[in-house]
Assembly symmetry: C2
DNA sequence: CGAAGCATTGATCGTCGTCAAACAATGTGG
DNA sequence: CCACATTGTTTGACGACGATCAATGCTTCG
């Protein structure tokens, strides 16, 4: 999974070796558990090895906003390498295998392999790009478009880590979690999804998503994958 | 203005010199002009020397969403150093003095001065943090809170670059621009502002903002400046 | 003085929130 | 194996926040 990095540029043997032998503490975490919390001053970052997680923040009123979904291969709190105190929490959505890597070893890696450091920087920039797109999505798109857009993003990102077969994939995200990601209520998400099903845009039941007509969904979500800055452009598929 | 960097750590003479002699092409740009556009593949980044700018994206429907305000000292497209194609546009809000620095010289700077590279990385991480907060703001806060929050952010960031006297500052942002930043319409922004004025939360007329009761505004906006990751905590003031 | 841009106001409409309940699926323990 | 607890989905009625449409002021500036 770490080989997401490899898609950006070809690693030297040296670099690959450094990554493969990266010391990390692997932990299995149940669904719906905080991995790190806003306000923490972590001394390590976490790499999602399997499962779905999310980055979120809370208002003073106790409302939750998910600002990003974290998929296998992501390091959602890589930022903590430079920013001492975390300004968001990270929670699992499904059960996850998480690898914890100390900042010390990450620093070491960056100093020894400048190109890996650059790749890490790049990763955080793509995260930022995704946040920007989400501001647009939440601020200016409504109902079906908004939902369609995150679905498109999820599918494209899942495809990039090889978790989409054909036009279907596992999607262990509840309607309540979608609501927190979209700035909606659960009730509204439910109604939007029903309308999308009725219009044949998606087939979604349980943990399984199927996309009968990718082009139409893309169009509904005004989805242009440029902002994900993927190298191989899997978006066409 | 570049000395925003200096607030993070003390520069060596060498580093300071490198920054002060940084070759850049300075240009004065009128209000409401695009500096760079989504889709561009820029070979240089822009440093805001004076004036207000903003980063924005558009929906296919032609609706605009501002995802960030750019203040003097910011380098809003530093990301283009690593991401070839821009996924957002940048426009001036007021007249701006902008310094263009080629990627070449930036790379050179980063290689020669790793601590400056780290500081740049850090800057982009703070940008990301601001985007996250905006997702929360746009997704989960309404009316007055939403408005109060961006006002708080603006004041704190302006104070960090010494553009706030007492409790007042220049704020050349139109209601239409606020609307695009908040995901509202101009009409609604107008009504929210009037209510805030009526409640004595702000005094805003023309380009001038005055904050009679900072604590109350902070409270209304649920504003906690942690996410800005400022070193000296000017937030108390 | 007229034009352009911005702020303001009013009336009406719609997306989405709130509240409340019922239903389905899953899993646990007696 | 069934009771029942838990979690997620679905439905309905109603209300509100904010959008839309359309004028009307108010500045500023050439």
């Amino acid at each position: 999974m770490i080989r997401k990095l490899e898609s950006v540029f070809t690693l030297t043997d040296d670099e690959r070796q450094a990554l493969e032998t990266l010391p990390m503490q692997v932990q299995v975490i149940k669904a719906d558990q905080d991995v790190v919390r806003e306000g923490d001053r972590p001394s390590r970052s976490c790499l999602i090895l399997s499962g779905f997680a999310c980055t979120y923040k809370m208002t003073a009123q106790g409302k939750r906003q998910i600002v990003s979904f974290n998929l296998p291969g992501d390091i959602p709190d890589l930022q903590s390498l430079h920013l001492k105190v975390l300004d968001n929490s990270i929670s699992t959505i499904s059960q996850c295998r998480v690898g914890f890597i100390t900042h010390e070893t990450l620093w070491d890696l960056c100093i020894r392999h400048p190109r890996i450091a650059a790749a890490f920087w790049r990763e955080t920039l793509i995260d930022a790009s995704i946040f920007r797109e989400w501001v647009l999505n939440v601020g200016r798109r409504e109902g079906i478009s908004r939902m369609a857009h995150v679905l498109c993003e999820l599918v494209v990102r899942l495809r990039a880590v090889d978790l989409v077969e054909d036009h279907a994939c596992d999607l262990p995200i509840t309607q309540g979690e979608f609501a927190d990601a979209l700035g909606f209520t659960t009730v509204h998400v439910n109604r939007v999804l029903q309308q999308m099903r009725a219009e044949g845009l998606i087939e979604l039941s349980g943990d399984r998503l199927n996309i009968p007509d990718w082009d139409r969904l893309k169009q509904m979500g005004e989805f242009d994958p440029t902002y994900l800055h993927l190298e191989s452009d899997q978006a066409a598929a």
